[in-house]
């Protein structure tokens, strides 16, 4: 079972943090289909957050078809996550490593790179919506 933790300084809504953590665990294989997520009471008595927030996160995961709630039993993982094949993953990783190397040589530090990456991601996202 996974244990949630919150990053109060992230600025990300709490329910989204929970959603991201479940997805992250699904991507890494920490959670596999059939696993039970902690109950709402377990989560709230651990993190001191509103039960509705947890319910909202679980509903969101359920809407995405990642988990399924079985009344009286708990919430269970339905399918795992991870876009693309493992081969794709290693290819993108190689490409990214190359890019990082290029940045280093051009004198960019880690924060510069993160900012650039986030900026590009944001641009794409805006395009997607507009």
């Amino acid at each position: 079972m996974i244990k949630f933790r919150l990053d109060p300084s992230s600025g990300v809504a709490t329910y989204l943090q929970l959603v991201h953590q479940v997805k992250h665990a699904l991507r890494l294989g920490v959670l596999v289909p059939g696993d039970r997520l902690p109950t709402i009471k377990e989560v709230v008595s651990d993190l001191a957050i509103n039960p509705n927030t947890v319910a909202k996160a679980y509903r969101e995961l359920e809407n995405e078809g990642l988990v399924v709630g079985r009344p009286g039993l708990g919430t269970f993982v339905r399918r795992s996550l991870g876009g693309g094949s493992t081969a794709d993953h290693s290819r993108f990783r190689r490409d990214l490593a190359q890019w990082v190397r290029g940045c280093r040589e051009a004198g960019l530090d880690q924060e510069d790179m993160e900012a650039l990456f986030a900026l590009v991601l944001a641009d794409f996202r805006q395009e997607g919506i507009a």
Binding site: L6, P8, S10, G11, V12, A13, T14, Y15, I40, K41, V44, S45, D46, L47, A48, I49, N50, P51, N52, T53, V54, K56, R59, E60, E114, A115, A118, L119, L121, A122, R125, Q126, I129, A130
Partner: protein
Amino acid sequence: MTVDRTVGMFGGGAGEFTAPAQSPTALEAVRLAKRYRGTWALRDCTLSVPAGRVIALVGPNGAGKSTFLHLVAGLIAPTRGSVRIFGEPVGQRAEALARVAFLAQDKPLYDGFTVAEMLRFGRHLNPGWDDALARQRLAELDIPLNRKVGKLSGGQQAQVALTIAVAKRPDLLVMDEPLANLDPVARHDIMRSLMAAVAETQLTVVLSSHVVSDLTNACDWLVVLNRGQVQISGEVDELLATHRMLSGPTELADGMAARMPVISDSRSERQADLLVRTGPGTPLRDPRWKVSGVSLEELVLAYLRRPDATALPRPTLTTT
């Protein structure tokens, strides 16, 4: 980095994962007012909150928070107006008292009683008392039943007081500054067990605090009282979704300010930062403006500095 908060859900859209819309009204105040010796502690307070929520009541000291909570708990009678809990008026009747539990700021307990005697007190004075729940909670918290209440730590006393309030099995739990005078660990512990109780018993909770950060993750409804009046009443997620910080060139600020309600407006020679309230369907696609989300704390602060600005539900709520 505000990338994560520069979300594209501008113009509403939050609230679709919220509690079912048909949930009954837990707490309703209509033109509620209280005067103490010629001074209005609370004036014309009208609000309505659905059941199953954890409601944060915030505001500066002297804003009327305690007065409001005492009125809800039936400890004092309003000068004007009325409070209803699940449709029933509050007051000095046994049925009305059974529906609300109140945790006063100092979390008073009888110091000479043992914890077990405090439970017996709860059992004798409450027909709906849930002794199993009380004992289980105290066992989970490792609070010895045979210890005198006065010998417990402040955090443990607060837990005993909370346990008594919860084991009464009220529909509404009212807490006046539950976290004041507690150390950080005790604050967290109290919130944890409060949230567990909410998850377990479907309580509706109203709690006041003058420290917004204490409540950010625990509360899903925000009521801001300022100078005896309700300034904000709304779902936290919706409030966060409908308020944006816009940063852009100062020369464009007036034009922007004319388009939507501005809560806070800080301008330098070049850049203006406007905290605005956006209605549904008011998208902003001007690339010269950077749009970012606001935290609950920023939002509350901005409103408290502008007592004339309000964020209240649009008049769709039925009033009686």
